[in-house]
């Protein structure tokens, strides 16, 4: 073994044995520094003749490259070990809780109203609104409910004392008892054909386990040429099937009476008992089944169309109304209407909806 080979073996062994970056640096300086042993050997190459350099140069160059590579490799290894040690020392308990921010929610009434708007948008119905503080003409008279009509007694109306609607014409002001006045306002302000739904708050002087003095309704109105009870039936079937996302929805239409429609129809939806709970769907006449009243509807009374300034010989149509809170309860299983208006955060969290549960036709109108 030559002298250089011995030197190389010694240096590489020393480098491999260096256990700190400082020790490694000392070795580098000792070998490759200005006065280093390898540097010294390289310096001997200068004065040599080309022939001699050709003979003695390569081993020295090899020595330099090998030592440099060994130093770099060892340095990287030492640095990696140092980093590993540092990271190991930085370990924390990742099972500690993290703050995810507060959780908000959308009220079931709002959610169901959005669902209904989506379903009816697909059928071409726009959303209309009207005032909740109404006059008795829009709430009753125009809907063919005159002062002495027994149907007025059916509505437990909240009235305002000695107020007018601001025009000084002495109209009796009240809180609307249904969303039907929006029908009147829509027909008076627009031109047929009309297809609207009108969701909103309504008020009746009633309070018990299943009634609250304020609740929500949604009204539907179609005025066009050649509209019949058959169209009403299809529309309600389509709506309720879409709302409950069930093809097995069975409706039972019963003749009824509302002053503003003729013929008037009440609509029951069949349910079946599943584990003791009423689940919408199926034939209500089947054993164990039953019917739940969900809608009032009918063909718009000619007098109502006339009162709105339209020609009932030219235009006819249908109207329907239903309780939004009740639909929400039937679909999502709440059983206490009063809880809707209590603002209990625990209830809102349980029955409320995520902000991103936006009802869409493609994503579904139930959440």
């Amino acid at each position: 073994m030559t002298e250089i080979a011995n030197l190389k073996a010694g240096l590489i062994a020393d480098i491999a044995a260096a256990d700190t970056l400082d020790a490694l640096e000392a070795l580098r300086v000792g070998a490759l520094g200005k006065n280093g042993v390898v540097t010294g050997l390289l310096k001997t190459l200068g004065p040599m003749s080309p022939e001699e350099r050709l003979e003695k140069g390569p081993p020295i160059q090899d020595l330099r490259e090998s030592v440099t590579a060994a130093l770099a490799e060892r340095k990287a290894a030492l640095e990696q070990a140092a980093l590993d040690a540092k990271l190991a020392a930085e370990k924390i308990d990742m099972t500690l809780p993290a703050d995810t921010g507060p959780q908000g929610s959308v009220h079931p009434v709002s959610q169901v109203m959005d669902e209904l708007a989506e379903i009816f948008a697909d059928l071409g119905f726009s959303v209309a609104t009207g005032p909740e503080i109404e006059d008795d003409w829009h709430n009753f008279t125009a809907l063919n409910i005159p002062e002495t009509h027994p149907a007025r007694a059916m509505h437990d109306t909240f009235y305002f004392p000695d107020t007018t609607d601001g025009n000084g014409d002495g109209k009796k002001m009240l809180l609307r008892t249904h969303t039907s006045p929006v029908q009147i306002r829509t027909m008076m302000n627009g031109e047929p054909p009309i297809r609207i739904i009108a969701p909103g708050r309504v008020y009746r002087s009633d309070s018990d386990a299943t009634h609250t003095p304020m609740f929500h309704q949604i009204e539907g109105l179609v005025i066009d040429k050649g509209i019949t009870l058959g169209h009403l039936k299809w529309t309600l079937e389509t709506f309720l099937k879409a709302f409950f996302e069930r093809d097995d929805i069975v409706l039972r239409l019963r003749p009824s009476y509302f002053p503003f429609t003729e013929p008037s129809v009440e609509v029951d939806v069949g349910y079946t008992l599943v584990n003791g709970q009423r689940v919408i769907g199926g034939d209500g006449d089947a054993p164990g089944g039953g019917w739940l009243e969900v809608l009032g509807s009918g063909m718009v009374n000619r007098r109502v169309i006339e009162a709105c300034g339209l020609d009932p010989d030219e235009w006819q149509g249908f109207a329907f109304g239903t309780g939004v809170d009740r639909l929400a309860m039937l679909k999502y299983g709440m059983n206490d209407l009063r809880a809707f208006f209590d603002g209990d955060l625990r209830w809102l969290k349980h029955y409320g909806f995520s902000a991103l549960d936006v009802p869409t036709l493609s994503g579904g109108v139930g959440a």
Partner: protein
């Protein structure tokens, strides 16, 4: 409206079974609310005779009976005062379920004495209200027989809901007629008895023909009032009407049977003749329900020379009613104007079976017949001799006809019903149909179809029918709505457009943004208490008839409802409350869509990273307000901050965001401590309201955005710190700096506020970072110096000096 199946079958000749009849009733618009056979729940109750009765050794009020219910003597402990040896009653044996309370009878010991069942009262069997003692049957009742069978209770009771337009179905006969039309039997003909009358009719007159256009009457003298015959008492009891006396029961029976209310006066109590007149101010009448009512001039009453005896068509008077001692009676069969009855009934808050019928409009052609049937029953059941009838006035008998084309059924209801079937239905409901059927012929060599034109005469008992849609309704309800074919609505032409208005679209965005930011949506009452309304500036709309004092004034602000909800949550232990509501405020001029929110309790709970719990601050309210305004599409960058919120807020820790000085888009801040206290809230409560209708509508500009390419050169940031007076608002300085060079400065952001060592008393240091965006080429040093100079100059206008 309740009736028994056997009662129905007195008018309806039908072999249809109960389920078929029930389904038929609902299908034709007479909704069945319930149907119950009392015998089904009474199968375990037998007729029993009390053999012996002795005092209970341990209790004064109890007796120990031996009872024979057909299977030999059984010992029973009984507390009824009328229990005695020899009594025949109704016995519930071991295992029977007591209808009134669902209790299962079993062998037990009562005060140490064995008891093997129960002797029952009417109330316990749900056969009446009588609970004074146990049932006493006639002595010859067959011991051991099932009581319900023997008593004829095996007769289903049907309860139907009658809509306000169907007075004719407030009598059993009307229901039978409807069922017959629907093919469930045939209607038996009604044979009205002829009255053998002697002597002139009573003195009855009309002074108020508007309220009472017809008043027919007869007297029957020499009657003996007593208990009703079994057939009548049984039917009345079955439907929950307590039999009172024959005379009273006759009027009730006819009212339920034929929908014809009547009244019977004891003539001994009357002074002079009876007159239908207006009430007089202050006049009072003690009605049959035991309450005294004060009538007025808007009401029709029946009075004699001295007193009012009847609130016309609603309720009779206590003093002139028939009693056991009555011998001479006057039977009233009148027609009262429906509108008058409705108004009087509403005013007095008085409902009765008679009112329910008169206000819907009884059959004006049935006065004579009704009076004859009543007179016949009185003379046959109570004896006596009848007078001629007096007929004061005349009922409104105008015959209504409707021109009808049977094709209108298809046009309105969408169901094709053969003309002949329509005619059959109408005639079976009592309508008369005349006129021409549709014809086809060649005229002048051309084929011509002439539509049918029918003249339909409406029966006198169908006040509700007055137009062709009513005729369609009659046909369709009898044919069945299930026959109406489901017909798709034609799709609206053109492409689908948004069906929500811009306002609704904004509300949806704001609602879901608030929920995404961690707020829970509440729905609070639209009405609040007067005190709550006063605390937020007072309400413009106060209900005349609130359901309670707490729900009286239409809210002028969403805060009271949210604060009440906050309080309820705090009371339930909620540590942190984040609530919002999207609804209307009710102002004098308009209902204004508004978002309100309340943040209370802990903003951040105590945590291993954050230490102690942290409360909400005014700036949390401001941040929420700006975020929601941004979601609503308000021009947030252009809004000005003013420190002048309403009195609901802490005057020094609240503000508004305005578009120009007048248009307030939002107010927010720390709640005024006195308002918080009013709602029982302690600690920092912050809140805000966004006035959605104040946000300017965004102009529709199509889908195209203005062109934009991100600048190639990087933005440059520069920091400045200015010393300004404490009174200078930060927003003013930032705006001034931002506007110092509108082209180069694209943003200015306040990042530090400092008061303390190095800053003079009365001054503060505000540090602002500005962002400069170069255009085509980088800023030169000269340009940067010029911008800096402009920034410093702008600050100087507000008294600011650059901090060294």
């Amino acid at each position: 409206m309740k009736f028994t199946l056997s009662w129905l079958k007195t008018h309806l000749n039908s072999d249809a079974d109960l389920p078929t009849i029930l389904k038929g009733l609902t299908n034709i618009g007479l909704e069945v609310e319930g149907a119950e056979n009392p015998a089904e729940k009474l199968g375990a109750f037998r007729i029993a005779k009390v053999l012996t009765a002795e005092r209970h050794p341990q209790a004064d009020k109890l007796q120990v009976l031996t009872v024979d219910a057909g299977d030999g003597p059984l010992q029973v402990v009984c507390g009824a005062p009328n229990a005695r040896a020899g009594l025949v009653g109704v016995f519930g044996t071991e295992g029977a379920v007591v209808p009134v309370n669902g209790m299962v009878l079993k062998k037990t010991a009562i005060r140490g004495v064995e008891s093997n069942g129960m002797m029952c009262s009417f109330r316990e069997l749900e056969l009446g209200e009588d609970h004074d003692g146990i049932i006493e049957l006639s002595a010859d009742a067959p011991v051991g027989r099932v009581y319900a069978e023997w008593a004829g209770l095996d007769d289903p009771v049907i309860d139907v809901s009658i809509t306000p337009n169907r007075q004719d179905c407030m009598g059993v006969r009307g229901i039978a007629r409807d069922l017959a039309a629907a093919g469930l039997g045939t209607l038996n003909a009604l044979i009205v008895p002829t009255i053998e009358a002697a002597g002139p009719g009573p003195d009855v007159r009309i002074e108020d023909a508007e309220g009472c256009p017809a008043f027919f009457a007869r007297t029957v003298r020499g009657v003996k009032n007593g208990s009703s015959p079994e057939w009548m008492a049984k039917q009345l009891k079955a439907i929950g009407q307590k039999p009172i006396s024959t005379l009273v029961d006759i009027t009730n029976y006819i009212m339920i049977d034929l929908g014809r209310p009547l009244h019977v006066y004891d003539m001994a109590t009357l002074k002079g003749g009876l007159v239908a007149r207006r009430g007089r101010p202050g006049e009072q009448v003690l009605a049959l329900n035991g309450k005294t009512y004060t009538v007025d001039e808007s009401m029709t009453v029946i009075a004699d020379d001295e007193a009012v005896h009847d609130i016309g068509g609603i309720m009779g008077g206590e003093h002139s009613g028939a009693t056991e001692a009555t011998t001479d009676v006057l039977i009233e069969c009148a027609y009262f104007t429906p509108e008058r009855i409705a108004v009087t009934g509403q005013k007095l808050g008085l409902t009765s079976d008679a009112r329910g019928r008169f206000e819907r409009g009884v059959d004006p052609a049935f006065l004579d017949d009704g009076l004859s049937i009543a007179t016949y029953l009185v003379t046959h059941l109570c004896g006596g001799s009848a007078s001629e009838a007096t007929r004061a006035g005349s009922p409104p008998l105008a015959v209504k006809t409707v021109t009808y084309d049977p094709a209108q059924c298809l046009a309105l209801a969408g169901v094709d019903v053969a003309d002949s079937e329509q005619k059959r239905i109408l005639e079976s409901l009592g309508f008369e149909v005349e006129g021409n059927d549709a014809t086809f012929e060649y005229q002048d060599g051309v084929p011509v179809t002439t539509p049918a034109t029918w003249t339909v005469t409406v029966p006198s008992w169908r006040r509700d029918v007055d137009g062709w849609p009513d005729i369609v309704e009659e046909v369709v309800r009898i044919v069945g709505l299930d026959q109406v074919p489901s017909t798709p609505l034609p799709r609206a032409p053109g492409v689908a457009k948004p069906t929500a208005t811009p306002e609704q679209a904004i509300e949806r965005r704001v609602r879901r943004t608030a929920a995404a930011r961690g707020l829970a949506e509440a729905v609070n009452w639209s009405f609040i208490s007067e005190r709550e309304a006063a605390a937020v500036g007072g309400g413009a709309w106060t209900l005349a008839n609130p359901i309670s004092e707490d729900l009286k004034v239409m809210r002028p602000s969403l805060l009271p409802g949210l604060l009440s909800a906050t309080r309820r949550n705090v009371d339930r232990g909620a540590a942190s409350v984040r609530l919002f509501e999207l609804g209307r405020r009710y102002l004098a001029d308009k209902e204004r869509p508004t978002v309100g929110f309340v943040l209370a309790g802990e903003k951040v709970a105590r945590g291993w990273q954050t230490g102690k719990a942290q409360p909400f601050s005014a700036f949390d309210a401001k941040g929420e307000a700006i975020a929601l305004l941004t979601a609503a599409g308000a021009p947030v960058a252009n809004l000005q901050s003013f420190g002048e919120a309403s009195g609901a807020y802490h005057p020094g820790q609240s503000g508004t965001l305005r578009l120009g000085p007048k248009t307030v888009l939002a107010e927010f801040g720390v709640l005024h401590p006195s308002l918080a206290r009013q709602f029982g809230l302690t600690g920092a409560v912050v809140a805000g309201e966004i006035f959605l209708d104040a946000i300017p509508a965004r102009r529709a500009s199509g889908f195209m955005r203005p062109p934009y390419a991100p600048p190639a050169l990087q933005a440059v940031k520069r920091d400045f710190a200015f010393l300004v007076d404490q009174t200078v608002e930060a927003d003013a300085l930032v705006r001034a700096v931002r506007n110092a060079d509108k082209k180069a400065i694209v943003d200015a952001r306040l990042f530090d506020v400092f008061v303390g060592p190095g800053v003079d008393e009365g001054k503060k240091s505000l540090a602002v970072e500005i962002t400069l965006q170069p255009g085509d080429k980088s800023f030169s040093q000269e340009e940067l110096d010029a911008i800096s100079a402009a920034v410093v100059k702008a600050a100087e206008k507000l008294g600011g000096t650059l901090r060294g």
